[in-house]
């Protein structure tokens, strides 16, 4: 049971993470209404469990774990299916790396500059769930590998490996967009 003090604590610790939770829910559901339902359920569940939360520990990670359980419980049907990853794209990416002249452009600053926001968003959305998850948690939410591993219940090495592959797929898609704008050249 939460008293007034705990309510204040909840609003201080948990509520500020609502945008992050909503963003992840929206990215996973790809539907604003479903995302809202998921976030609502997550926060109500978190509130009921708040007396189990240890103040001073990572509230954001705790909320993400509740969100994950809620998401799985609601949308479990397809989660047992192994993700289909376009490994062809990864191979193409390495081909691209081998064949491109790295001195020709300042890649880091400019290569994806002309890619539109909605194209980046689409590329992110097209990633398999397991790849999209690590990208969101690492690059948007700024979680450490340890936090992500805890969230995914997997070794840190798996997190790193997934991030590596996810960025390869993402980079390949973004390079395609860049090429279509005539910015990056075919080898």
């Amino acid at each position: 049971m939460l008293n007034e003090e705990q309510r204040k604590q909840f609003e201080k610790e948990a509520i500020p993470h609502m945008d992050a939770i909503y963003n992840y829910a929206q990215r996973m559901c790809n539907d604003p209404d479903e995302a809202e339902d998921l976030v609502q359920e997550t926060f109500l569940k978190a509130y009921r469990f708040f007396d189990k939360f240890e103040i001073g520990t990572n509230c954001k990670a705790w909320l993400f774990r509740i969100l994950k359980n809620t998401f799985i419980n609601k949308y479990r049907k397809d989660t047992k299916e192994p993700e289909k990853v376009d490994y062809g794209s990864i191979e193409e990416f390495y081909e691209l790396i081998r064949d491109t002249n790295s001195n020709s452009i300042n890649l880091e600053d400019t290569i994806f500059e002309n890619v539109f926001d909605d194209e980046v968003s689409t590329a992110l959305q097209r990633l398999p769930d397991e790849f999209r998850t690590v990208i969101i948690l690492c690059d948007i939410e700024g979680m450490t590998y340890e936090e992500i591993a805890e969230f995914l219940d997997c070794p840190i090495g798996t997190v790193r490996s997934r991030l590596h592959r996810a960025r390869n797929v993402l980079a390949t898609t973004l390079l395609e967009y860049a090429k279509s704008k005539g910015f990056a050249k075919d080898s």
């Binding site: 049971m1 939460l2 609003e11 509520i15 609502m18 945008d19 909503y22 963003n23 929206q26 990215r27 604003p32 995302a35 809202e36 976030v39 609502q40 926060f43 109500l44 569940k45 509130y47 009921r48 469990f49 189990k52 774990r65 509740i66 994950k68 359980n69 799985i72 419980n73 609601k74 479990r76 049907k77 047992k80 790396i97 081998r98 491109t100 790295s102 890649l107 880091e108 994806f112 890619v115 926001d117 909605d118 980046v120 968003s121 992110l124 990208i135 690492c138 690059d139 948007i140 590998y145 840190i156 790193r160 490996s161 991030l163 590596h164 960025r167 390869n168 993402l170 980079a171 973004l174």
Partner: protein
């Protein structure tokens, strides 16, 4: 010159995210310095990461209406719990300390919490407990069936009418059987692993299995009593305990706990390999 391995590329990823140990970082820094492909790869990957990080449009903000709605619902929960506390002050004096103290200290909330579990059953609002005439000496009773069901599930040898990890399939199953049944997941800090329905000639039991963070299982069983010709009986001591609104707890062996309780006319059970004190912590408490 040594060829760059996939492991090295993965270390580049760790390096970009600043997530390597000092020795790993030194090692990959040395490799990057020697390898044009690693340098190029690092640039591409950093550009990809920067692109994601630098686009505010990739961050969806929670709508204000959602924020308001959640805060309102928190108010409603507070209000309910405040009323609940008043009721508890009256009732807790009747309770005694036991291994079930965590439940007993907050009986209404406990009952309310498990009401959600109760709803994982057939036509729960219409179920009734077996009456006095039932033969309690039967081995095939509700309690033992719960335990047997739990063991069968754990060993993977349950004879099942349905096994699913999807709540919608479970709902569809009951619908296909023309059963007036509401499936609601209990509020539990665990992951829904699946539900099974075992059908016998005179009874049906639904078992819901959750996995907690510690990879332990909880099985919850429910059965339809209404309309059953020979419903499964329950033990005398269980019956007398739950009839008085109490909780029956039995340590089956070192690894298994059995819990039974009653809400109105519905008997519910939990079988778990989690000690009951810890089990209590996995459930939230709310007013009916």
């Amino acid at each position: 010159m040594k060829q760059s391995t996939p492991q090295m590329f993965e270390l580049v990823t760790g390096s970009i995210d600043n997530q390597l140990s000092q020795s790993e970082q030194s090692s990959i820094d040395a490799e990057i310095a020697k390898s044009a492909s690693l340098q190029f790869y690092a640039q591409i990957e950093r550009a990809t990461k920067n692109t994601i990080q630098s686009r505010p449009s990739l961050r969806h903000s929670a709508p204000e209406s959602l924020r308001t709605s959640i805060l309102s619902q928190l108010d409603a929960i507070d209000q309910q719990q405040s009323q609940q506390t008043e009721n508890e002050n009256v009732s807790t004096s009747k309770m005694t300390g036991s291994v079930f103290s965590m439940f007993i200290a907050r009986p209404y909330r406990a009952v309310a919490s498990f009401l959600l579990i109760i709803m994982v059953g057939y036509g729960v609002t219409k179920m009734v407990l077996p009456n006095e005439s039932i033969n309690f000496s039967s081995d095939n009773n509700f309690c033992s069936q719960s335990l047997v069901n739990y063991e069968l599930l754990n060993s993977g040898s349950a004879s099942l009418a349905l096994k699913t990890n999807n709540i919608e399939e479970l709902r569809s199953y009951f619908k296909s059987k023309n059963l007036n049944f509401t499936v609601e997941l209990p509020i539990i800090d665990g992951e829904f692993q699946g539900a099974t329905v075992c059908e016998g000639s005179s009874h049906k039991i639904v078992t819901v299995v959750y996995k907690t963070k510690e990879n332990k299982l909880i099985a919850m069983s429910e059965m339809k009593m209404e309309g059953d010709k020979t419903p499964l009986p329950i033990y005398d001591d269980v019956k007398s305990t739950v009839k008085q609104g109490g909780w029956y707890w039995q340590k089956v062996n070192n690894n298994t706990s059995f819990v039974a309780w009653k809400k109105n006319d519905v008997l519910c059970t939990v079988v778990s390999d989690i000690p009951v004190e810890q089990l209590a912590k996995l459930f939230s408490w709310e007013k009916v």
